[in-house]
């Protein structure tokens, strides 16, 4: 097809090399993850970069997969919510979301989790105000914001404590 750069698209997702045969260059990373690779964790909310439900990590940075062409992500490391847990062990942020009841319907949760992990890593989770500002790109129609903020603050506090002791901090690939 004239629309393809090459017969097969190769993506690195959650540490695995994945093949997408006969790719459409118009496909977003979000659609490719969901429809070609069976990774339905990232959600299609607005599909225009406004709601954050499709948030994934690209080379360690949180981005919106609905505004990323899959073909442009070939050289990058993609991590989705499916890649957060390691060896069946939930990521500290996933555990905190459960502990704090940080969701109702759960649709925005994968994006919230990916954004939250990045928020702590960026050092932008120092106070509830700071968390709200730096999580502003993730909308929650159920308005679980207070619980989401509490979960992130909890993880950030424990990460800070771990930093001041030699203990290894928990958490997955991302």
């Amino acid at each position: 097809m004239g629309t393809s750069l090459q017969p097969t698209l190769y993506l690195t997702v959650n540490g695995e090399k994945r093949e997408v045969p006969a790719p459409d260059v118009r496909a977003t990373l979000l659609d490719t993850l969901r429809e070609r690779l069976g990774l339905t964790g990232a959600k299609k909310g607005c599909d225009r970069g406004e709601c954050g439900a499709c948030t994934v990590h690209l080379d360690g940075r949180r981005v919106l997969s609905c505004l990323t062409l899959a073909v442009a992500a070939q050289d990058a490391d993609v991590v989705t919510v499916e890649g957060l847990a390691t060896d069946g062990e939930l990521h500290a942020m996933q555990r905190a979301f459960l502990d704090h009841d940080a969701f109702q319907c759960g649709f925005c949760t994968p994006g919230q989790l990916m954004s939250a992990v990045a928020c702590v890593r960026e050092g932008r989770a120092g106070s509830p105000d700071e968390i709200r500002e730096w999580m502003s790109g993730n909308l929650c129609r159920c308005a679980a914001y207070p619980q989401i903020t509490a979960a992130i603050a909890d993880v950030a506090e424990r990460a800070a404590e771990n930093e001041s002791t030699p203990a290894e901090s928990g958490g997955g690939r991302s």
């Binding site: 260059v25 225009r48 970069g49 954050g52 062409l69 073909v71 442009a72 700071e130 730096w134 790109g137």
Partner: protein
């Protein structure tokens, strides 16, 4: 979405050659282009991905001049220690824009090429819009649905505003946009990059030709850059475009008297709107003299032309300019929450 070919340009020459093909369109961060494709605002035959070009550096040159590559991401420029310290208005304009995810993706060159947020321009089903289809008319003006529209530099053809916070800050800093094209390189002042419908047909958003690309931005070293501030007034506390915004860079003489100042406004025109008459009048004014500040700023609003829906912007923009002037004179560590809270309507 129409089919297109995709090529990742290996170098500048290849990018410029690829851009000369009819139907070619450039893509970098993708945060604007992907939405244009989805909404039918653009339907290119060929996409030219320029993210492989070596244009990501942020360099502080001799005498403090700042040079920013067009492909530097908004988040990287905002986090650059020199930018936050020496040019607060720049860091603030970036951190008050979009969301962390979008700032990780969007480039400096792309930010300046954002198109208007006018809902009729952005409609996914075609509505009368002279920016989308020349001669189609303007649904916003026909319906008096103009709360978000311009109070300066508009015509009966189009009253859209440009949405870039960064462009407004760059105008206050007297920055230059660096452009490459088939004819070589050229430099355009930041406040002359966007085109108002008074200057060109609404279809044209900026001075950039289809076969040109932005390579970077140069910000001169000026004492005024340190005393600078970006004030953004929004309808939400965060993650929203400006209703109006004000960028100020000023120099103080003895005590708290204004020596020289540059003021640019966002949300009032289809380009960063300089208050040049006010800038003149503000020389020698005491910062503590609120009435004098207000009177000086008001001079630049004598020719404001509010529309039926946006008369409030005339007062709001003047107040924003006065507040930004006073905030610029009291530099503090950039703190996006305070800036966000300050930017909210009162």
């Amino acid at each position: 979405m129409k089919e297109f070919t995709y090529v990742k340009a290996p170098d500048m020459a290849a990018a410029l050659t690829a851009l000369r093909r009819p139907g070619a369109q450039l893509v970098a961060g993708g945060t604007e282009l992907l939405n244009w494709l989805k909404d039918g605002i653009e339907a290119p035959d060929h996409l030219v991905d320029i993210t492989g070009l070596p244009l990501t550096a942020v360099d502080v040159g001799p005498h403090g001049r700042l040079r920013v590559g067009a492909l530097a991401r908004m988040s990287d420029l905002a986090a650059h220690p020199e930018v936050a310290r020496e040019r607060p208005v720049l860091a603030q304009s970036l951190l008050l824009a979009a969301s962390p995810q979008l700032r990780n993706m969007a480039t400096i060159g792309g930010n300046l090429q954002q198109r208007t947020r006018c809902p009729y321009f952005r409609a996914d089903t075609p509505l009368p819009c002279n920016k989308r289809t020349p001669g189609a008319g303007c649904a916003a003006l026909q319906a008096d649905d103009t709360a978000q529209h311009a109070i300066f530099g508009w015509t009966q053809e189009c009253a859209a505003t440009h949405p870039s916070d960064l462009a407004v800050a760059l105008a206050a800093l007297d920055a230059t946009i660096l452009i490459s094209g088939p004819g070589g390189e050229r430099r355009v002042p930041a406040d002359a990059f966007h085109l108002t419908p008074e200057e060109a047909e609404p279809r044209r958003h900026t001075v950039l030709a289809p076969d040109e690309l932005i390579t970077g931005v140069e910000v001169p070293a000026r004492p005024s850059a340190r005393l600078s501030h970006y004030l953004k007034v929004r309808q939400r506390a965060s993650y929203e475009f400006a209703v109006v915004s004000a960028a100020v860079a000023l120099e103080l003489t003895a005590g708290d008297t204004i020596g020289s100042v540059r003021i640019a406004l966002g949300g009032v025109a289809h380009r960063p709107w300089r208050l040049t008459a006010a800038e003149e009048a503000l020389r020698g004014t005491e910062l503590a003299d609120t009435d004098a500040l207000r009177a000086a700023v008001a001079i630049s609003f004598a020719d404001a032309r509010p529309l039926p829906g946006n008369g409030y912007k005339v007062e709001l923009a003047q107040r924003a300019a006065v507040r930004a002037l006073r905030a610029a004179a009291r530099p503090e560590a950039p703190d996006v929450h305070r800036a966000g809270a300050n930017g909210g309507p009162r």
